[in-house]
């Protein structure tokens, strides 16, 4: 449990570091960017790039809020990231390069989904594997089998009763079991 608590603290330190990096890398006066400026700059881009901007901004997390993308948040850091995305798009960078830029700088932490490579492939394949094997299990257990014996090899109550009756009948006839 202490480990968990420490993890939470570690995240906070990481957050502080990240904030610092933002200040150092952009060195902008605080509060320089407002949502309205971003929307104006966005309108200046071509409609294709606006679409790209949306797709990219949805995949980057807001550093200071929980569960939201930079697109959904107006926190100062989110606005700076959005500004950076627009700048990169204006420089005709591809979405891949832009994502690479952010992950190089701030780590995978900035992404909202695990990348589909290396160990993190597990997060994507895990659910698919579970679904596949669960279905296989169901098929083997219910649809392939055509007997009235339960999965643990125990016969049902009725089957046991029939056998008992038969054996009682045999006993009455004088057969020793």
């Amino acid at each position: 449990m202490i480990g968990f608590c420490r993890a939470a603290r570690k995240e906070k330190t990481a957050l502080l570091g990240l904030m610092l990096m933002f200040f150092l890398s952009y060195a902008m006066p605080l509060g320089a960017i407002t949502p309205i400026e971003i929307s104006k700059e966005l309108e200046a881009l071509s409609s294709q790039k606006q679409e790209l901007y949306r797709e990219l901004a949805v995949d980057l997390r807001c550093p200071t809020c929980t569960g939201l993308s930079v697109l959904q948040s107006d926190a100062p850091f989110s606005l700076q990231i959005r500004q950076a995305v627009i700048d990169k798009l204006r420089e005709d960078k591809s979405p891949r390069e832009i994502k690479q830029f952010f992950t190089d700088r701030y780590g995978l932490w900035i992404l909202r989904t695990p990348p589909s490579e290396g160990f993190h492939l597990l997060a994507w394949l895990g659910p698919l594997l579970i679904v596949f094997f669960a279905f296989l299990g169901l098929w083997a257990n219910y649809w392939r089998r055509q007997s009235s014996v339960s999965s643990q090899g125990i016969r049902s109550k009725e089957a046991i009763l029939i056998q008992m009756e038969r054996e009682i009948g045999l006993l009455k006839e004088g057969v020793s079991l």
């Binding site: 569960g67 959904q72 989904t113």
Partner: protein, 653 residues
């Protein structure tokens, strides 16, 4: 003084529930009726004492007794009456106490109202429930005491988190907790069936009722939370796949699965063990959710409820799991399926099994996504949170599979491949669904999406309408079987009608989700007298006005909305200033038409003259369908609950 007395009451509750648990299990072991009666009385005593303690907490909140740490933490003198009452469950200690109180209430009700059939297993049920209750009281007494004193007593409290000062937040926690706590009862019945080694007819009836009850409240609770996020957080969405949202969704999925496995059990006497496992896991995940909220293992929007109570929950969850697995391993083979012929072919029971498969797959994905940050950190050392896009990559396909399963499954019959009304029903629905799909696509403004997304949306909408027509044709066919004796049919098939409504509710919800897959938004600054246009709507701004409502100061920026030159409505996005916080909180301006929500957020405004303001305007299609689906689903489930026939019927199990 009063607080000390209330703490003493909690201590008494702890002792009486420990006694109740021990006495119940002893009564079960030695078949001692009077000992069991005494254990039952202990649970009523616990309830009485807990209610008294809750009354005292409310009294302390209303009298603003800041010498109690909890009262100081969550209330202040400016808080209005209703929010003072709701402050009871605004933070960790109080919400834990509310949970415990509700569990005491349902433990007592379950003891007072069992079916005659269940007499033999009741000691086990009672013992299980009171053991859980004892654990909750232990936590309340030793780890999260709502009556802890604060010395010296401050003159003013910290105040309630402004985000929680919202009518939906008043009802969201009690409703959700009602669902969680009443899920303990099916789980207790499951444990009792394992101990006893058999399932009788009354078991099914009781478990079905309690699961339906819990399911209704869970659904209401989840929707209230979504609605709160929609109107309070200002990001124009209602579901963010936040870890805590997910962990309220897990018990919902599992209890839905339980309802469907009970159906097979009722008709065919199969899936008994699955029902028990599902009942246990539904309950288990309701506690798992609390663990996530409380411990801060995973960061979430609900982190205002964090505390060192986390490790205790982990111990509890671990112990629960170990005990249940042991009990199941030792006793489960005693529960035999009925010896029914011709099962699991192409038939309704197979369709229900597929439903289980889909629901549990969904639960598994949500579970993996929620816990992945911990897995990833422990293996690669890298911590990041999985957020919405991950879940959105899986959810649409599962959603469509659900829709398909509802359509196909409802028309099938048990133990035979016969389709009611014949395969024609499916084909006719294909034809009938085409027109509504286009109507919906037109009004839901699908023209804004393109490519793959548009394809999924169209396919989904078509499938929803296809399923809707399948269900309607099925109803007509059933009515024609009884020669259109409508009232007679309905009075004898109340639970069919209930499930019909609930399934339509699911379809309406899926249609809603598909429609608002992508909204339209715009950020704009308007000066006095200016106006802007978005998607055919014209928004005109006049000035920012200041208004005082109860404890808050509102800065309102009314926008009058016109469409085609006609005045429609005035939406009033605002910012609220509370005396206990420096921050300005969002009050969303919202106007709902049937097809669209006009949703305005006041991002910034000129604080001196109030002559200009920056708005974020959203047009969200089909959100209203999502809220509508709540009424259908809960109405349907309540109808099922009212059905007197189902469950009373004697069946060979």
């Amino acid at each position: 003084m009063l607080a000390d007395f209330a703490y003493f009451l909690l201590l008494l509750c702890l002792f009486s529930s420990i006694y109740g648990a021990l006495a119940s299990f002893a009564a079960a072991k030695y078949r001692h009726l009077r000992l069991f009666r005494s254990a039952k009385m202990a649970s009523f005593a616990t309830l009485g004492l807990a209610l008294l303690a809750a009354g005292l907490l409310w009294g302390l909140l209303l009298s603003r007794d800041f010498s109690v740490a909890y009262v100081h933490k969550i209330s202040s003198s400016d808080l209005p009456f209703t929010y003072t009452l709701a402050a009871f469950w605004a933070s960790l200690e109080g919400s834990h106490f509310l949970w415990t109180l509700l569990l005491a209430v349902y433990t007592a009700i379950a003891q007072a109202s069992y079916a005659k059939d269940n007499e033999v297993i009741m000691p086990y049920v009672s013992g299980t429930l009171q053991a859980i209750l004892a654990w909750m009281f232990y936590l309340a007494v030793f780890h999260s005491d709502p009556f802890a004193p604060l010395f010296p007593a401050p003159l003013e409290g910290n105040g309630l988190n402004p985000l929680l000062q919202n009518p939906y937040m008043t009802f969201h926690p009690p409703s959700l907790f009602t669902g969680y706590t009443s899920l303990a009862i099916p789980a207790a019945y499951g444990v009792a069936a394992l101990f006893y080694g058999d399932i009788n007819e009354g078991w099914l009836k009781s478990v079905r009722r309690w699961t339906l009850y819990a399911w209704s409240f869970l659904t209401v609770g989840i929707f209230l939370g979504g609605r709160w996020a929609y109107i309070e957080l200002g990001w124009a969405g209602y579901w963010a796949w936040d870890p805590v949202e997910n962990s309220s969704f897990l018990p919902w999925l599992l209890s839905t699965a339980l309802l469907h496995s009970l159906l097979v059990q009722d008709r065919l006497g199969h899936l008994k063990r699955l029902s028990i496992v599902l009942a246990f896991f539904a309950f288990f995940f309701s506690f798992f959710g609390t663990f996530i909220t409380r411990s801060g293992v995973i960061s979430s929007v609900h982190s205002f409820a964090q505390s060192p109570i986390g490790p205790n929950y982990l111990i509890f969850l671990g112990a629960l799991m170990v005990l249940f697995v042991c009990l199941y391993a030792l006793r489960a083979q005693a529960l035999l399926p009925a010896d029914s012929e011709k099962v699991w072919g192409f038939s309704k029971e197979s369709a229900l099994l597929i439903t289980q498969f889909l629901l549990l797959s969904f639960a598994a994905i949500v579970f993996i996504g929620t816990l992945y940050p911990i897995i990833s950190e422990s293996i690669t050392g890298l911590r990041f949170n999985i957020q919405a896009p991950y879940f959105n990559a899986f959810a649409p396909y599962l959603g469509l599979a659900f829709v398909l399963a509802i359509g196909v499954g409802n028309l099938l019959s048990y133990q035979s491949g016969k389709i009611r009304g014949g395969a024609k029903a499916y084909l006719w629905s294909l034809l009938l669904a085409i027109a509504p799909t286009f109507v919906f696509a037109y009004f839901g403004e699908l023209s804004r999406s393109q490519g793959f997304v548009l394809g999924i949306q169209l396919l989904g909408i078509f499938l929803c309408f296809w399923t809707l027509f399948c269900l309607l044709i099925d109803l007509l066919v059933r009515l024609s079987f009884v020669r259109w004796q409508v009232s007679g049919f309905l009075s004898r098939n109340v639970s069919y009608l209930g499930s019909f409504l609930a399934h339509i509710g699911v379809l309406v919800a899926v249609l809603g989700f598909l429609g608002n897959y992508r909204g339209l938004d715009k950020t704009v600054t308007l000066k006095h007298g200016e106006s802007t246009e978005l998607f055919g709507y014209r928004f005109s701004f006049d000035r920012v006005e200041t208004r005082h409502v109860e404890n808050m100061t509102l800065f309102e920026a009314p926008l009058s909305v016109h469409k085609d030159g006609q005045y429609i409505h005035t939406v009033t996005p605002a910012r609220a200033k509370y005396p206990t916080s420096k921050e300005l909180f969002h009050e969303v301006g919202l106007y709902s038409e049937f097809w669209h929500d006009i949703y305005g957020v006041l991002a910034d405004f000129d604080k001196e003259a109030g002559k200009s303001a920056t708005f974020e305007l959203h047009i969200n299609p089909t959100v209203r369908l999502v809220w509508l689906s709540l009424y259908l689903m809960v109405g349907g489930s309540l109808l099922c609950l009212l059905d007197g026939l189902r469950g009373f019927r004697r069946r060979e199990l």
